[in-house]
Subunit: 111 residues, 2 copies
DNA sequence: ACTTTATTTTGATAATTCTAGAAATATAGT
DNA sequence: ACTATATTTCTAGAATTATCAAAATAAAGT
């Protein structure tokens, strides 16, 4: 992971509509969702949705697989994990203090 | 956490310079870094740096504390954790498949 | 070939954002 | 009050981005 990649991924997730799209795909799991299903679910015009999906694709945050005329979109779980790692996994390494009580907790506690 | 907040935080981290600033603060730990120290370390002009810090502040990703004439900046560890939770913690909930083998791993394995 | 369905590309406009020099402000020491 | 240090605000130009209607493309059924 380099900083340009990480920043472009963050940027891709940095607009409410694209974050919405991405989270819908995270929720959808392995089955994914077609472009049309996303369009119905989120109420975004096709051309706009297509642009946003392209941005997420270029950032390697989602994948697409064609099934006849429909395109199935899926979240790329590996890349988001690497992104999160890049963001927080060097916590406190430049600190001269004792890091034992570093406030950041690397284990996510999903509620 | 709502989608506007999450998106604005992602957007704040979505430019290489700001991500660099943020990661420098993550690495610095509780001690934090002054604006001037960041300027020296990253080679960013003062006015540009100040704008970026303001963006990170508004997004609640960092905090600032004045010590005489210098401003100490620190990463807000709580907010980034909430952000990561928001991003991945609803993984697969809309899936009709068995989620047991969901590919996403909620526990970060920092290497 | 034609039609239908699904999605992307084109193109154009509006809006936002990045950047950094110059000037202004804030704080504290002399 | 004056000076020095640290940081922010002002300003403006360049660059990027978001949006979506309309046209184009892709795939498969009739």
């Amino acid at each position: 992971m380099n900083i340009e990649t990480a920043a472009s991924q963050m940027e891709a997730l940095g607009k409410p509509k694209r974050l919405d799209i991405y989270r819908a795909l995270i929720r959808a799991g392995k089955e994914g969702l077609s472009v049309g299903a996303l369009q119905d679910k989120l109420g975004i015009p096709g051309s706009t949705l297509s642009h946003h999906l392209k941005t997420l694709m270029i950032a390697d945050l989602i994948t697409q697989e064609r099934q006849a005329t429909t395109l199935i979109c899926r979240a790329n779980y590996t890349s988001v994990q690497q992104l999160v790692d890049y963001l927080v996994c060097e916590c406190c390494i430049d600190s001269s203090q004792d890091n034992a009580d570093c406030e950041i907790d690397a284990s996510l506690t999903c509620s």
